[in-house]
């Protein structure tokens, strides 16, 4: 065998090796598939509103026209997800005035509860908690492993009243941020449920943004 042949063989071998590595990486990078998407969608189905009818037979509720009082809301203060080793402090957060987006707490080991939506006391609608998957400066966030959750995993939320409430994961979905049906996840009607949101999918290093949102839906256990 000539030196030239040997070089050529080495080149072929290196090519095969490179492609093998590339294939393995590509397979390993595939996001986990969505589970429970239908169930999550069904939970959001609003209780039907009565259709327009003639006045006949309708009883009209009468209320004292008192100024609205503050509703009794139970904000979650702590969230525990044993399956992915999460124990995180929950802050009540709102909207970033400048961007009109969810104000996820800047500290990546803390997570944010959407204070305009229902709290843990609710018997309808979606309690939304979002947290960082990671941050360029602080590293991994509390919800780094959120996408590993699967149906049946448990989530425990502790309210400001000290009460613990158990939830069971029914769905894990990944949506491009441009297509995610946020109206459904921030709904205040439909079945009571807990919605956990973080980022995921391919990362755009230039824009420092993930393409997708990971959404986990859990129902009272």
């Amino acid at each position: 065998m000539t030196v030239r042949d040997r070089g050529a063989l080495a080149a072929v071998a290196a090519g095969v090796a490179a492609l093998t590595v590339a294939t393995l990486v590509a397979c390993g990078s595939q996001p986990a598939e969505d589970v429970g998407a239908d169930e999550a969608a069904n939970l959001a189905t609003a209780t039907p509103t009565p259709s327009a009818r003639a006045a006949e037979g309708q009883s009209v509720p009468v209320t004292a026209g008192k100024l609205p009082a503050g509703a009794k809301i139970v904000p979650p203060v702590r969230l525990v997800i044993p399956g992915i080793d999460v124990t995180a402090t929950v802050n009540a957060v709102g909207i970033n005035e400048r961007t009109n987006e969810f104000e996820v707490p800047p500290s990546v080991d803390q997570i944010g509860w959407y204070r305009y939506g229902p709290g843990l006391e609710t018997d309808a609608g979606s309690v939304v908690i979002a947290g960082h998957v990671d941050s360029a400066k602080q590293g991994r966030g509390a919800f780094f492993r959120l996408r590993e959750l699967d149906q049946g995993d448990t989530v425990t939320g502790t309210g400001s009243d000290g009460g613990e409430r158990q939830y069971r994961v029914v769905a894990r979905e990944e949506y491009a941020k441009t297509k995610i049906p946020l109206g459904r996840y921030f709904a205040r009607d439909g079945k009571p449920r807990l919605t956990l949101i973080t980022c995921g999918g391919p990362f755009d290093a230039k824009a420092r943004k993930y393409r997708d949102n990971i959404v986990v839906t859990a129902v009272p256990a």
Binding site: G15, A52, Y116, F143, P202, N213
Partner: protein, 236 residues
Amino acid sequence: MHGIPDTPVDVYVNGRKTLDNFKPGDVAGPLNLEQGDYDIALTKPGEPIGSAILTVDNAAVPGGGNVSLAAHLDAAAQPRITPFVNDVSKVAAGKARLIVRHTAAAPEVDVRAGGTPVFKGLTNPNEAKGDVDAGSVQADVVLAGTDTVAIGPADLNLKEGTATIVYAIGSAEGKSLDVVAQTITGLHSAPGGVPSGDGGQAGTGVHTWWYVLTSVGVLLLLGGGVRLATARTGRK
């Protein structure tokens, strides 16, 4: 909304009794109606519709619309019914809608929040409205352009994604000025997005180096293969 002091009524819609002994300061509804025109009549409780104290014929109810009917005193203290079309468009995330309606026998007023006039020069039977940050504000009503408080102050809890409608009712002369509130829920919007990561450690999909690696692999294979093939052919 019933804002005529000391005058409980029965309410008839198209000749059918819809509310029995409806009291001042109360709000009734919602009542779902087909689009169309409706005759409204108010009687003293138990009296026949023929002796109605107040009637409105052909009040228009638009399809898909949301209307509040206010039974109230006009500026000259005469009872009347005014329909208000409620703005039930969505409010932005984090906001609440405040609507103030002047339905009292009182002069022009300003509405203040935290001591600052937010709605100025409101007269009977008109409304003023705005979308404001959700939360609590202390509000009062003053005679227009003055600091003379006519109603309040009161704490207003403006819940996000709702419209709070506050009616000023009663009569200044009769010292019966008061407020009645009606709340419309379900006007919330979702946030524009949930940005929750800029580190890239959890990125799925492949990076640029993957494409480089794949290209190099293909080139090596091709190059090596061609070299081998030509070498064998050459030796033959």
